[in-house]
């Protein structure tokens, strides 16, 4: 897909970051990155490579030590535009329990809108739309703590979507979920992507990364790779060297090639393998 002509939702220009009180230890080092409208961008990298910091710079939770972050043209370091920035870029964290605050799902969905002073009729309308779209309508009167992990995370996503951000940034949203919960959240993200929403996903799960339009690999605070998943996962030796892996389907292809057999490049899912092996027979 061509993304170069599309609108840039988030621009990071020469961004560096050090946490206060750490002797200027560089967590992010001169990052230049544009997130385009409608793009699904996945951030990969070993623990401590700066992924979560980068995510937090994208909606002004952190301000860069050097360089600047522009969200739809607004500088995140400018306090007067911070509320605007947060409206444009919504954030979802690892543990939904830390993000859900209200007594019922309905109040949870209203929380962000209330804070931004939406009129009640508009709030009700949006809650109806969003809960129908995300199949939460039957859960509206439930207390969030009674939901499954996957449901909670979908409520967290829905409550951020309620304020209609241009982009959604998610920091390892599936790492605390069981397999069904993971699948639920990932298919939700794919639906969002198809509906044209901009999604930035931080993950350690290579199978989740395959769905990206573009992958950025961070290594020790530097953007060491930017490109499509196919290109990323063809660099097997390099990924291993920096402590990452390739998805099992791609690993199988690598092993088969190691036996001197020829298989196609793009085998990333079970379905790809099934299709290939069946057409060959």
């Amino acid at each position: 897909m061509r993304v170069s002509n599309r609108k840039k939702v988030i621009c990071l220009q020469g961004v560096s970051y050090s946490y206060p009180g750490t002797n200027n230890r560089i967590v992010l080092d001169n990052i230049n990155l544009d997130v385009h409208a409608g793009e699904m961008l996945v951030l990969l990298g070993p623990n401590g490579s700066g992924k979560s910091t980068l995510a937090r710079l994208m909606n002004g939770l952190l301000a860069p030590s050097c360089g600047q972050v522009l969200v739809d043209g607004l500088n995140t370091a400018d306090d007067t535009s911070l509320w605007q920035v947060r409206k444009k870029v919504g954030m979802v964290f690892q543990n939904p329990d830390n993000q859900l605050v209200a007594a019922t799902v309905e109040e949870e969905l209203a929380f962000g809108m209330e804070n931004l002073g939406f009129p009640p009729e508009e709030m009700m309308k949006r809650i109806r739309e969003i809960s129908a779209r995300m199949q939460l309508d039957e859960l509206l009167n439930f207390p969030p703590h009674r939901l499954s992990g996957g449901q909670k995370q979908r409520v967290a996503i829905a409550s951020v979507l309620a304020i209609e951000p241009q982009a959604l940034v998610l920091d390892e949203p599936t790492s605390m979920l069981d397999p069904a919960g993971r699948r639920e959240v990932i298919s939700e993200l794919n639906r969002l992507k198809q509906s044209g929403k901009t999604v930035v996903l931080v993950t350690h799960d290579m199978t989740e990364a395959i769905t990206a339009d573009r992958i950025v690999v961070l290594v020790q605070g530097k953007a060491a790779f930017m490109g499509p998943p196919r290109e990323c996962f063809s660099r097997v030796a390099w990924l291993q060297e920096i402590g990452l892996e390739i998805p099992p389907a791609a690993e199988l292809a690598r092993r088969i090639r190691g036996k001197g057999l020829v298989v196609p490049q793009d085998l990333y899912h079970v379905a790809d393998w099934v299709e290939y092996l069946c057409q060959e027979s």
């Binding site: 990298g45 070993p46 499954s148 790492s175 069981d178 069904a180 088969i256 057999l261 079970v270 092996l277």
Partner: protein
């Protein structure tokens, strides 16, 4: 011969005798042999963590539970169990508390009443096992990176040299390499030192590639038990309770459904063999 963990007809309920009473575990009977690598899988809320806490003597339960030959119906036996049974909770780094990494890891061995020489030997061995350099010994554990904290917390349990190690998603949030290193460490303890492992996890690839046996929990009951190969051949049943099978098992099931002659498989080496056989048969 009874197992090192032997459970008969176990029931655990939360808030018993109140209107909100809820059974977390119902009628669990299972045995784990010494030196076995057992995985426990199940959807959220199926009782996995509760079962682990019963095995560690942290929760009082109805039914017969014996661990390392001790009858856990007696409070005295439950209270002393920590000397033989180590439990690593989710996010164990939240339990770090001492002023230095060394003292944090020495806390358990010191409480066991070991000599300071023996404590020192064990702390060093544990830190080496988790791959932490000597230069961190005198640092505050809170100065370490996330991955280092996790490893320090785990070293604190290893230093007690437990016979049974209970692991509750020990690698959640770690990157692939950190995960592999830790899981290799646990595998080695099991294979080389006959430490009995009980691993609660959502990672089916780990289960497929490492565990001897699997117990599947669903709504507080045992839904299935067997080797990874036996369990993961039951793809449909697992999916119906919200679990999924590892890549190789998914591939086997899908290819079999299309009528291709492949054997059941759960690991990547098995998949490699089967797929290579298929492709060679055509060449």
């Amino acid at each position: 011969m009874p197992g090192i963990i032997d459970i008969k007809n176990l029931y655990v309920s939360y808030a018993p005798g109140t209107p909100i009473q809820r059974h977390a575990l119902r009628g669990i009977s299972m045995a784990v042999e010494k030196g076995e690598y057992r995985a426990i899988i199940g959807p959220q809320g199926s009782g996995k963590s509760t079962l682990l806490q019963v095995m560690a003597g942290l929760i009082e339960a109805e039914g017969r539970v014996s661990v390392c030959g001790k009858d856990l119906r007696h409070k005295k036996n439950r209270d002393g169990l920590w000397r033989q049974v180590g439990i690593i909770f989710q996010y164990p780094e939240r339990q770090l508390f001492e002023d230095t990494v060394f003292n944090d890891i020495a806390y358990g061995p010191r409480n066991m009443g070991l000599s300071e020489d023996e404590v020192r030997r064990r702390v060093k061995a544990a830190l080496e096992a988790v791959n932490l350099d000597e230069e961190v010994y005198c640092l505050s554990p809170f100065k370490l990176s996330g991955g280092q904290k996790r490893r320090a917390a785990i070293a604190g349990i290893l230093a007690m040299e437990p016979e049974v190690l209970l692991l509750d998603e020990p690698t959640a949030g770690l990157d692939p390499r950190g995960k592999r290193q830790l899981m290799d460490l646990f595998s080695n303890l099991c294979r080389k030192k006959q430490v009995t492992l009980v691993l609660v996890t959502h990672d089916m690839e780990e289960v497929a590639h490492r565990a001897d046996t699997v117990t599947v929990l669903y709504r507080g009951r045992i839904a299935m038990g067997g080797t990874p190969k036996e369990i993961f051949a039951r793809c449909k049943e697992l999916e119906s309770i919200g679990l999924f099978v590892p890549f190789a098992a998914q591939l086997a099931t899908s290819l079999q459904a299309k009528g291709l002659p492949v054997r059941n498989m759960t690991t990547l080496p098995e998949a490699e063999q089967e797929v290579a056989r298929l492709l060679k048969g055509r060449a």
